[in-house]
Amino acid sequence: MILEIASSFTPQVIFAMIGGLTGAAFGVAKNQHNARVAFLLLVIGAMAASGAADYLVNSHGVTSVYVIGIVSMPIGLVSGFLMDALEVASPRLAAKLVNKLGDKTIDKIDKF
């Protein structure tokens, strides 16, 4: 199981994760989210970019790590703005989610 997971981290997936993280970082930097939301968006960016890389490798046969790294950046960028997308779709739900995650972080800091 662990070996199977480790083998899925091909160079293409690793470059996609780097591209996705870079793109998501641009999106996250534009917003003033709390640390938990920012981390969540970065992880989503990396995951979405890896998924896209997986699709490009398996369905289209793209093997170049540089092409995959560059293609992953806009995918990560969109992920960095996911909270804005939620805000556009439902402002109340977005505010609720941000407050909930923010409160949890503050509670943890207080306990620490």
Binding site: K30, S59, H60, G61, V71, P74, I75, L77, V78, D84
Partner: protein, 155 residues
């Protein structure tokens, strides 16, 4: 040139290029999306899918009718969002621009494979358009956030 200075110069270039031209890019992008996906949708409507037998488009054969209809929806949504004049619709339009930029980048990637590298014009055209839509979307959402902050601050 230090990396910090390079990023700063690139940001200034992006602002200079896309500060006023976002409306044109939104409109052209919507037409590009609708036109691109309509070619595939009309091919599916005929019953015989001829486009996938062409060398340039054979790598798109994994895309079904549903995928092209969703892509077409982005174009229609872009037209609808850009025609409304509110902060929410501007943000929606910016997000659609960036999402379509990601899709154009994937299309450029697919063309690179089907054309065995950068030997034809397709990867350049779709790649450049992807960069343009992403930068315009980023600039548009940045501008709407600045406007939102000024409005909240009573400025």
């Amino acid at each position: 040139m230090p990396i910090r200075e390079l990023i700063h110069s690139l940001s200034r270039l992006r602002v200079w290029l896309f500060l006023y031209a976002t409306r044109v890019i939104e409109f052209v992008n919507a037409l590009f999306i609708i036109g691109f996906s309509l070619a595939f949708v009309s091919d599916f409507a005929d019953g015989i899918v001829n486009m996938y037998s062409l060398k340039s488009y054979k790598d798109f054969s994994s895309m079904g009718l549903g995928a092209w209809l969703i892509f077409m929806f982005f174009g229609v949504a872009q037209l609808a969002a850009m025609s409304l004049l509110s902060l929410r619709s501007t943000k929606a339009s910016a997000l659609i621009l960036m999402t379509s930029g990601a899709i154009w980048a994937m299309i450029a990637g697919a063309f690179i494979t089907s054309h065995h590298g950068f030997i034809t014009t397709a990867p350049y055209v779709y790649g450049v358009w992807s960069i343009a839509t992403c930068c315009a979307g980023y600039e548009l959402i940045s501008a709407s956030k600045r406007y939102e902050r000024l409005s909240d601050g009573g400025g």
